[in-house]
C-alpha cells in the first residue's frame, strides 16, 4: 500500500476496503475503478504568495471532492517552490508525529520520484486542505499543487438519509481494528485493504 512503487488502485472490483476515518472502521466493497491521470483540472493554484508569507487555507473541494460513495486515492507534487501543510479534516494536519508535520515541498520529488509518500485518500467530501508558505526571498506569482490517482466506486448495503445527502451504509462497521480483523478471520475468504482517511487525532 505504501511501497516505493508507482500509484496503484486501493483494491480491484469485488475486493473489500476498510476505511479508517476518524477512528471509525467501515467496510465497503469496490464496484468500479478508473484512473485519474495528471492533467490541468487536477492542478490546484493557491495563488500568489509574497516572499516568506503564508497563503490563506486552500480548500480543494472544486478539485478533489468525490461522489458520496466514491473513494479517491491521490498522490501530489508541487509545481512551485512552496511548502504546504496538508490537513484532513481542516483542523487536523496530516503526515505528522507528536510535534511535527511533514509538508509537500520541492525536495520530495527528488527523494521520491513516484510520490508514494504523498499518498492520501478522499471519501466523498472528506477533502484535504492546503496551507502553503513561500520560503523564498522573492514573491511567487502562483503556487501550484498537482494531483493524480484513482477513483473507486464503493458499494455498501444501501444509502441512508435524504436523497440530496444520502450516504452509503457500510457493509459492516467496527469499533476497532481488532474486531475488524476478527470478523475477517471468521468470514471465510473476505479480506480487506485498510485505507487511512485522516482524522485520527493525537
Amino acid at each position: 500500500m505504501y511501497g516505493y512503487v508507482p500509484i496503484e488502485p486501493v483494491a480491484l472490483p469485488g475486493q473489500h476496503v476498510l476505511l479508517i476515518n476518524s477512528q471509525r472502521f467501515e467496510l465497503y466493497q469496490v464496484a468500479y475503478v478508473e484512473p485519474i491521470p495528471p492533467s490541468h483540472p487536477f492542478v490546484a493554484n493557491l495563488g500568489a504568495i509574497g516572499a516568506g508569507l503564508t497563503a490563506a487555507v486552500f480548500n480543494t473541494t472544486a478539485i478533489l471532492d468525490m461522489q458520496r460513495n466514491h473513494l479517491g486515492r491521490f498522490r501530489a507534487y508541487v509545481l512551485d517552490d512552496i511548502h504546504s501543510v496538508v490537513s484532513q479534516p481542516q483542523q487536523l494536519s496530516r503526515w505528522g508525529t507528536l510535534n511535527q508535520n511533514a509538508r509537500l515541498n520541492v525536495y520530495a520529488k527528488l527523494q521520491d520520484p513516484c510520490d508514494h509518500l504523498t499518498q492520501f485518500h478522499v471519501f466523498g467530501q472528506d477533502r484535504i486542505f492546503l496551507t502553503a508558505t513561500n520560503p523564498t526571498g522573492v514573491a511567487l506569482a502562483q503556487a501550484r499543487v498537482a494531483f493524480y490517482g484513482y477513483r473507486h466506486v464503493l458499494e455498501g448495503t444501501a444509502f441512508a438519509g435524504p436523497p440530496e445527502s444520502a450516504m452509503p451504509v457500510p457493509i459492516k462497521t467496527f469499533a476497532d481494528i481488532q474486531s475488524a480483523v476478527a470478523w475477517s478471520q471468521s468470514a471465510q475468504g473476505v479480506k480487506f485493504t485498510a485505507v487511512d482517511m485522516g482524522g485520527w487525532s493525537r
Partner: protein, 123 residues
C-alpha cells in the same frame, strides 16, 4: 527519474520566429498558455544589422520588462545559446523580445527559441 537540479519537468515547445524590424519595439516571442510557466532552454538569434545590436528578453510589450541580461550582437552575428548558457528564469507571462536597432529584412534581427513549459491549473 527527476534530476537533482530540477524538481519538476515540463514539455518542450518552440517559439515563433520573430523578426524585429523596428528599434525598441517589443514583439512576442512565446505565447504562454494561461496558468502555465516556462523556462527558455534555447535561443537562436541573427543580427542582420550593419551595426552592433543589444537584444533584450523579458515580459510585456509596453514596455518590455527585461528578465535576462542584455545580449550583445556584432554585425552579421549568429548566436545560439543552449540550456547550459541560459539562466533558467521561470516566466509566468508571454516572453517578449526587442532590439535597440532593427530595420526591415534583410536588416532585421531574427529570434527563435525553445522553451520548457510547466503544467498549470488551466490550459
Amino acid at each position: 527519474m527527476v534530476s537533482p537540479i530540477d524538481f519538476k519537468h515540463g514539455i518542450r515547445d518552440h517559439t515563433t520566429l520573430v523578426s524585429l524590424v523596428a528599434a525598441a519595439t517589443p514583439l512576442t516571442l512565446y505565447l504562454l498558455p494561461a496558468g502555465r510557466t516556462c523556462r527558455l532552454r534555447k535561443l537562436h538569434v541573427f543580427n542582420g544589422q550593419a551595426g552592433n545590436v543589444l537584444l533584450e528578453i523579458g515580459t510585456g510589450l509596453a514596455p518590455l520588462a527585461r528578465t535576462l541580461p542584455r545580449i550583445f550582437l556584432v554585425p552579421g552575428m549568429e548566436l545560439t545559446l543552449t540550456e547550459d548558457q541560459l539562466v533558467g528564469f521561470e516566466f509566468n507571462a508571454n516572453i517578449t523580445v526587442q532590439a535597440d536597432a532593427a530595420a526591415a529584412a534583410p536588416a532585421d534581427v531574427q529570434v527563435r527559441g525553445e522553451v520548457e513549459v510547466y503544467q498549470g491549473p488551466t490550459g
